[in-house]
């Protein structure tokens, strides 16, 4: 089981004082897949992520990551994971490059400068590398945040609401980055409140509601639960997002020279 399961959660319960948030959560995430935890605000998604990333202890139940128990083998779990929290956890006063070097040094890697430069190129941040992060746009900050999580190639990555607060372009940039991760064999657990995000990215989707996982399956399986599909003929109107992206152009990445932006993005996953 441990060979194919990257994350194993069973009977997880957690209360804050008298407020019970998790009432027995069970799920497994297959190695190398993208697993989306879907739920409304306050459903307990962040609580699950914090327990899995050893920031919180569960009241009862087991949570294991990469074969290590989150409660008793916390140090091994931390060696196996990377966490990108709900708010871009970057250092505003340092430059983008310094942020990456900082994480590389804390992971005790050799030649942190080279690692930083590679990631800056991969995430189209080279031109902004020496600027303070406080001058970055929301999308750039998120990209840097995710780049920081990739340092040291942890086999499991947690992304807690990675696109909350981003504009449509920023969202697409993050989606591309997440897809590239899974293609590289990394297991990704992401939480989101956006249904289309789960639909776009996830191999497996679980819906957290009332402190329990009420549905868990592939997109096709979830769709099969609903009333059977009906065939209707509807004129396809462009959505406002289509209009916006068509006008603005969805390849432009802020802070980079126009000539290299498009090729950089498509070249990330090969």
């Amino acid at each position: 089981m441990t060979t194919n399961t990257a994350i194993h959660v069973q009977g997880l319960e957690k209360s804050y004082g008298k407020v019970a948030v998790l009432h027995g959560v069970d799920f497994d995430v297959a190695r190398g897949s993208i697993f989306a935890l879907l739920g409304s605000n306050g459903a307990g998604k962040t609580t699950i992520v914090k327990i899995l990333s050893t920031l919180l202890k569960a009241d009862t139940g087991t949570a294991s990551v990469n074969g290590f128990d989150a409660a008793t083998q916390a140090a091994d779990v931390r060696q196996s994971i990377s966490l990108t929290g709900q708010f871009a956890a970057v250092d505003e006063i340092l430059s983008g490059r310094e942020n990456l070097i900082l994480v590389a040094q804390l992971r005790h890697l050799k030649s942190p400068g080279t690692i930083a430069d590679e990631l800056l190129t991969r995430f189209a941040l080279t031109d902004a590398a020496t600027r303070r992060v406080s001058t970055y746009s929301g999308g750039m900050r998120r990209r840097l945040d995710i780049a920081m999580s990739l340092i040291g190639n942890p086999p499991v990555i947690f992304l807690d609401e990675p696109t909350t607060g981003l504009d449509p372009q920023g969202r697409l940039e993050v989606w591309d980055a997440v897809k590239a991760l899974a293609q590289g064999g990394t297991t990704v657990l992401l939480t989101t409140q956006y249904l289309d995000e789960a639909e776009q990215l996830a191999d497996q989707i679980a819906i957290l509601h009332g402190g329990r996982i009420i549905v868990n399956g592939t997109l096709a399986e979830l769709k099969a639960l609903l009333p059977a599909a009906k065939v209707e003929y509807v004129e396809k109107q462009p959505t406002l997002e289509d209009v916006f992206l068509a006008i603005v152009g969805d390849t432009g990445i802020e802070g980079t020279a126009g000539d290299s932006a498009g090729t950089d993005r498509t070249g990330t996953d090969d």
């Binding site: 050893t54 920031l55 931390r78 966490l83 956890a89 006063i93 340092l94 900082l102």
Partner: protein, 253 residues
Amino acid sequence: MTTHFFGDTAVLTGRSLKHVTRSLDTIMTTALTPIAMMLLFVYVLGGAIKAGPGPYVTYLLPGILLITIASGIAYTAYRLFLDLQGGIFERFNSMPIARSSVLWAHVLTSLVANLISLVVVVLVALVMGFRSSAGLLSWLAVAGILVLFILALTWLAVIPGLTAKTIDGASAFSYPLIFLPFVSSAFVPTATMPGPVRWFAENQPVTSIVNAIRALLTEQPIGSDIWVALGWCVGILVVAYVFAMITYRRKIS
């Protein structure tokens, strides 16, 4: 894990020192209030204060140094609070690093930032006529007391830094600390104060620390003041450290 403690602490200290060097205004603000107070007391009020032989600025400086530290550690709480708010604290704690390094980095940064502020204040005092014939050993002893005092108040500042709900709450605790030197021998000799005030002034930590530093700088006999001063510093340091660590463990588990 602990094998990386020193390396991780060094890396994280380097990071928060950049916060200090890239916002030098925090050091200036820290030094500005004590300098303004020193100007006020020496050039406005000082003429009417009888505080022994020698220029008044020499009498005043030890107390001003303690006020500098008391206002400097407010920034320690502030920086720690911002790390917790921003989420970078959680990023560090989910990484395979020695967890206490995160706190020690802030403590060491506080030490460096406060020492820089102290040097600035001493330089201004020199311009204002402060002179000391004390030898190297006495100066080292003064530096030692000040370092202990910085560490004691820094660990105290860690507690509101970890627990505050707002940015104002994180630094408000330092106001009473800044006020404490006024009811001590820092500005005037305690002998002029009425009974209960005098009793408080003579038995609170600032007076013994101020007296010990003053005696060292003016080459007077130190007496028991230095032991009382060291007792207070070490006592506050140990108690604050224990409570800060309890607060930290509660925060990260």
